[in-house]
Symmetry: C2
Subunit: 241 residues, 2 copies
DNA sequence: AAAGTTATTGACTTAAAGTCAAACTTCGAC
DNA sequence: GTCGAAGTTTGACTTTAAGTCAATAACTTT
C-alpha cells in the first residue's frame, strides 16, 4: 500500500466519523424518522452520493451510530469490572456505568430496539451487523465475569440458574427499567429520578438471587461515591446525595 | 339521532374494525415500515381516501391497532386479578396473562416502544392517544391492586418502597424480559423458552421484594395448571410440563 | 324526481430514499 | 509540464409511498 493510500484511508475514516457525528446529533434530537439524508449531506458539506459511498442505507447509518455508542458502553462496562470491591459492589459499578451511558445517549435503548426489528436489521451492512453483535457480547461478558466471580467467592449461591440466565435476568431488568423510565405516556407516574429506579430495580433482583450482601446492608451512596471518584470521574451528572 | 344514523354509525365502526384487522395482519407480518396504505386500501376494498376518513396518519392506524391489543391485555389482567388464591398466585396469574398476550401479539412490545417515541406519538389522534393511555392505566391498576392486597395481608412486607414503585419494578422486569427474549441478535443465547424466562425473572424480583411465599416454596407448575383451567382455558399454547 | 347533502374516490402533489452518468480530481508516464 | 487513465464526487433523476382534495356517486329530503 502506497503512502498516498494510507492518507486516503485515514481521510475516508475521518469523513465517516464526521458523517456519524452529524447523524448522531440529528438522531438524538429528532429520531430516525426525521433523519433526512439531503439535510445530513448539506450539514456535512458532502453530496448525498458520498453518504452512500460509506453506508448502504439510512438504516445502515443508524446502526453505525448505535455501534459507536455501544462500543463506548462496552468500554464503560469493562472499566466497571475492574472496580476494586466486593462482587456486589462491582455489579453496582456496572449499574453506574449503565446510568452514565444513559445520560450520554438518553434514547439509546429505543434505537437499539428498532435496530433489532427484522425489517430494519436486514437493511444494514452485514459487516456492521457483526461489529454491533461483537460489542453487545463484550457488554454481556463483562457482567458474566462478575457473576461467575460472585459464584466462585460464594457471594452468589449456586442455585438452579445458570450464570447466563442470571446475566439475562439482570440485563432484562436494567433495560426494562431504562425503557419504562423514559416512556412518559405509561399511564403511571413515578415521581423519582427514572435513572435511580434502574439501580433500585436491579438491587431488588440481586436480593432475589440471594446475592450477598443484601442491599439493606450496603451503603449504596458510599459505594457510588467511590465508584465516581475511582473509575468514572467524568460522570458530572452524579450528585453526592 | 335518526334510525338511519344509528345504522350508519354501526357500519362505520364495522368498517374501522375491518381496516384494523387487515392492518394488524400486515403489521404483525412485516412491521410498520412495510405497512403500505395503497395495499391496505386494496385489501379492505376501500379507497385510500376512505382510510383517511378513519385515521389521521399511518401512525394513527398503528396506534389504533396497538390500542385494540392493549384493551385485550387489560381485560386479561383484570381476569387475572380475580383468580382465587394467595396474592403471589394472583401475581402469577398476571404473569400467565402476560405470556398469553405475548403469544397472540408476539411483537407487541417493540411496537409499543415505537409508539411512545415522540416523533411517532405526535402524529396520532389525541383521542386515540388518550384511549391508549387509559388502557395502559387499567393494566397498571390491576397489578397495583394485587400489590396493595399483598401489603394488607402481610404477604409483602412494608418496606421503603411505595406500591407504585413496586408495580414499576415488576412491569420493568416483565417488559425487559419480553424484549430481551425476542431480540435474537443480543450476542447471548438463552436456550430455554424466552417466555418462561419472563416468569422466572419476575419470580426472582418478587423474591427480592420479600413477597411470601418465596418461589422455592411454591409449586409453580401446579398453580399454572389451575390458572389455565380456571381462568385462561383459551391458552392453547400452555403445555402441562 | 329534482335539489340538496353527505360519503367516497383515485388521480394528483409532495417528500424523501436511493441511483448513476457525467464532471471533476488525482496520479503516473513521458 | 502535459496528457490520458484511474479513481472520486456529484446532484439531477427515478422511484416509492404518504397524504390531499376536486370530482363523482350515493343517499335524503321536499
Amino acid at each position: 500500500m502506497s503512502v498516498t493510500q494510507a492518507r486516503k484511508d485515514r481521510e475516508r475514516a475521518e469523513r465517516e466519523e464526521l458523517i456519524l457525528d452529524h447523524a448522531q446529533r440529528s438522531l438524538l434530537k429528532d429520531g430516525f424518522q426525521n433523519l433526512n439524508l439531503d439535510d445530513l449531506a448539506k450539514s456535512v458539506e458532502y453530496s448525498k452520493g458520498t453518504l452512500y459511498l460509506h453506508f448502504k442505507t439510512k438504516e445502515d447509518i443508524a446502526l453505525a451510530v448505535a455501534t459507536r455508542a455501544i462500543v463506548e458502553r462496552a468500554d464503560l462496562f469493562e472499566r466497571a469490572v475492574g472496580f476494586k470491591g466486593t462482587s456486589r459492589e462491582r455489579m453496582r459499578a456496572i449499574g453506574f456505568a449503565s446510568l452514565h451511558f444513559a445520560h450520554v445517549y438518553p434514547d439509546y435503548f429505543s434505537v437499539e430496539l428498532m435496530l433489532k426489528s427484522h425489517s430494519f436489521w436486514e437493511k444494514a451492512d452485514p459487516l456492521r451487523q457483526q461489529a454491533h453483535g461483537m460489542e453487545g457480547a463484550r457488554c454481556f461478558r463483562a457482567v458474566h465475569r462478575i457473576v461467575t466471580d460472585a459464584i466462585e467467592t460464594g457471594d452468589l449461591p449456586r442455585g438452579h440458574l445458570s450464570p447466563e440466565e442470571i446475566v439475562f435476568a439482570i440485563a432484562s431488568t436494567a433495560i426494562g427499567s431504562h425503557i419504562m423510565g423514559r416512556s412518559s405516556h405509561a399511564g403511571m407516574f413515578v415521581t423519582q429520578d427514572p435513572l435511580k429506579m434502574v439501580c433500585q430495580n436491579v438491587d431488588i433482583l440481586l436480593d432475589g438471587l440471594g446475592w450477598k450482601p443484601p442491599s439493606k446492608d450496603m451503603d449504596a451512596n458510599a459505594v457510588d461515591r467511590r465508584i465516581h471518584r475511582e473509575i468514572f470521574p467524568e460522570a458530572t451528572w452524579f450528585k453526592t446525595s
